[in-house]
């Protein structure tokens, strides 16, 4: 490996990249567009709690409970209640048994079921206890001893509500990284199809020099943009080193995918045709962050899951190395395999 030659090739690749007006415009506008999307999304969580209650046989007095910030809606069945909690209509659902008052009068403990959305804040539990006590006091004139069972529908992230824009942050960051697949794959495809790679390979530059240069250029472009984005949107405020590491591995993954795509493609259109399905698959895991419960465990086979998961947990919940090291390791493993295969197939095409 000759670093003087690699430096020359990197400089050439970056120069060519920035001369492609379409790709350059896509890159800059993309970054601006993602920032706009981020900042127009709500930056806070709605503090009013909308609670669904299923209470057969009880008067509509529940609707007039004097709790500030609570909006209570009565539903017709427990199934409807669970469905609306699952789809996010209510952040909490409360189900009272039909013989609630009779049991109270008989001195028995009625069972009250509470349903929470996956990411309902911890404060809601406290609010619900207050609500139940107020409710009991209103009905009987004394505090009640009731059995309350709680069930979290989905992953338990109680106590940490995330504003929509911060939910979107990992999605936008990986979008920025993976959009570079398109630019780099196009650059490599042109190099092969126009036979400029052949001209380089009859100079002292070797195939390894070429791949190293392309990797540096590709990782650099994707990494710098993603870091810039994360810095602007405050994604680097907590554990910035982990964020830098995961974005770097993500950029390397994008570079490996570019190698694979450019080994299959012959021109810009075929680069586009191969890149779009790859991008769609890579973005799927971020939907799980945007819409909790929207995806199932199979997304863990998609390498970008570990990128999104790490960015999301570190930037939004302050997770540390101990929490994310397995995700980082799996992501690194995927990246090494994909980059390795990419180099092998592209090398075959070059030779």
């Amino acid at each position: 490996m000759n670093w003087r030659i690699i430096g020359t090739l990197v400089s050439k690749d970056l120069s060519l990249f920035f001369r492609k007006k379409g790709i350059l415009a896509l890159t800059i506008l993309g970054l601006v567009f993602y920032l706009i999307i981020y900042f127009v999304m709500p930056g806070t969580v709605n503090e009013n709690l909308e609670i669904g209650v299923y209470a057969p046989g009880l008067p509509p007095v529940l609707q007039h409970l004097p709790e500030e910030g609570l909006e209570i809606s009565i539903v017709d069945s427990e199934d409807v209640l669970k469905e609306r909690v699952s789809d996010g209509t209510y952040i909490v659902g409360m189900s009272l048994p039909s013989d609630f008052i009779e049991m109270l009068n008989a001195g028995q403990k009625p069972d009250i079921h509470l349903y929470f959305t996956a990411d309902a804040p911890e404060e809601i539990k406290i609010a619900m206890e207050t609500l139940v006590n107020d409710f009991a006091y209103m009905l009987t004139g004394q505090a009640l001893t009731v059995e309350v069972s709680e069930e979290v529908l989905g992953q338990d992230l109680l106590g940490t509500p995330i504003p929509p824009r911060d939910r979107l942050r990992p999605l936008l960051a990986i979008f920025i990284i993976f959009m570079e697949i398109l630019g780099l794959a196009n650059l490599i495809t042109e190099e092969v199809e126009r036979r400029t790679a052949q001209a380089l390979l009859v100079t002292p530059a070797t195939v390894i020099d070429m791949f190293t240069a392309k990797s540096i250029a590709g990782i650099g472009l994707a990494f710098v943009q993603a870091v810039l984005f994360m810095a602007i949107v405050g994604g680097m405020n907590i554990n910035p080193v982990i964020i830098l590491v995961v974005l770097f591995i993500g950029a390397a993954l994008a570079t490996g995918l570019s190698f694979l795509i450019s080994s299959l493609a012959k021109d810009f259109m075929s680069v586009l045709a191969w890149s779009v399905p790859v991008l769609v698959v890579l973005i799927v895991p971020s939907l799980g962050v945007m819409i909790p419960g929207a995806i199932t465990g199979w997304v863990k086979v998609i390498p970008s899951y570990y990128l999104v998961d790490t960015v999301y947990r570190v930037a939004n919940y302050g997770s540390g190395w101990g929490d994310v090291w397995t995700s980082l390791l799996i992501l690194l493993g995927y990246t090494l395999v994909i980059v390795g295969i990419g180099i092998l197939v592209l090398r075959r095409k070059l030779q």
């Binding site: 060519l16 009859v202 100079t203």
Partner: protein, 288 residues
């Protein structure tokens, strides 16, 4: 061994069952121009690819400047220049940027791109993007690019194919200047006139084998037929053609008889072209 710039020893390459280059052997002396001729599919490009380290031989070896190409690829490639048949320049860059890029890859310092541009008649166009160039200008720039490291061996693949006479002549002048400088030139071409005019020796390649290798003159002597082409005027005033073979024992008598009996208008000597000789040897044309 080191007196030769290029040595091919039993060089062989095959694609699956097809033998593209079949155990060929030849040497090219330092400072010599070798014309490498043959029809499409004869194995010329595969041979050049093996000599320049782009392909690893399946058998035999290529030795350039005393170094086995497969074992010293970077040193070999640092001392050769290759001009491809198909244009492969960075078209979004200017001519100067293209030359500077390759000079940096070869580690040439200091480097003055304008000197190389003027050698191929492109002075004043160095700051233009290559995609604004005509085919002839691009080909001249390709030749200039192959010279940036002042190569000891220059490989030129069809350098004048499809070019206008001015561009072709500019490239021929560069080739002769390179010979004067002491470079060895390996010239692959379909243009028989060009090969005849420029080459010290020519090699004919057919079906993966070298079927003849000698100076153009010796090949013509060995395989060609020399003749006198004569136009005579008849009694009615019409012109008729006569041909006298120059290499027979009774040639002098026939010439004497022709001038004595007929009214000779024009006389031209004719010798075989390299194309004729190739057909004579292989039974097929060079463009086939």
């Amino acid at each position: 061994m080191t007196d030769y710039a290029i040595v091919a020893e039993d060089l062989t390459y095959y694609y699956g069952d097809l033998t593209a280059v079949d155990h060929i052997n030849f040497q090219v002396a330092e400072g010599e121009i070798l014309g490498f001729l043959g029809p499409n599919g004869a194995g010329k490009t595969t041979t050049v690819n093996m000599l320049t380290g782009q392909m690893k031989p399946k058998g035999g070896r290529a030795v350039l400047m005393g170094m086995d190409v497969a074992k010293n690829i970077e040193r070999v490639q640092g001392n050769i220049g290759v001009c491809f048949e198909t244009t492969n320049l960075y078209e979004q860059m200017t001519a100067i940027e293209n030359l500077n890029l390759f000079a940096r890859l070869f580690g040439v310092k200091p480097f003055d791109a304008s000197e190389f541009l003027s050698r191929v008649g492109l002075e004043g166009r160095g700051k233009d993007k290559v995609d604004t160039y005509s085919k002839g200008m691009k080909q001249r720039l390709m030749v200039a690019r192959s010279l940036v490291n002042k190569p000891r061996i220059l490989f030129l693949d069809e350098p004048t194919a499809g070019l206008d006479p001015t561009s072709s002549e500019a490239i021929r002048e560069v080739i002769l200047k390179e010979k004067e400088r002491g470079a060895t030139v390996f010239l692959t071409t379909h243009d028989m006139m060009e090969a005849d005019k420029l080459s010290d020796r020519v090699a004919f390649m057919n079906q993966g084998k070298i079927v003849a290798l000698d100076t153009p003159l010796n090949l013509k002597r060995q395989y060609g037929k020399r003749a006198l082409k004569v136009k005579v005027s008849t009694e009615s005033g019409a012109l008729e053609d006569r041909e006298i073979d120059l290499d027979t024992p009774d040639t002098p008598a026939k010439v004497q008889e022709l001038f004595a009996r007929e009214q000779v208008v024009t006389v031209h000597s004719e010798e075989a072209t390299l194309e004729d000789i190739f057909i004579n040897i292989t039974g097929r044309g060079l463009t086939g």
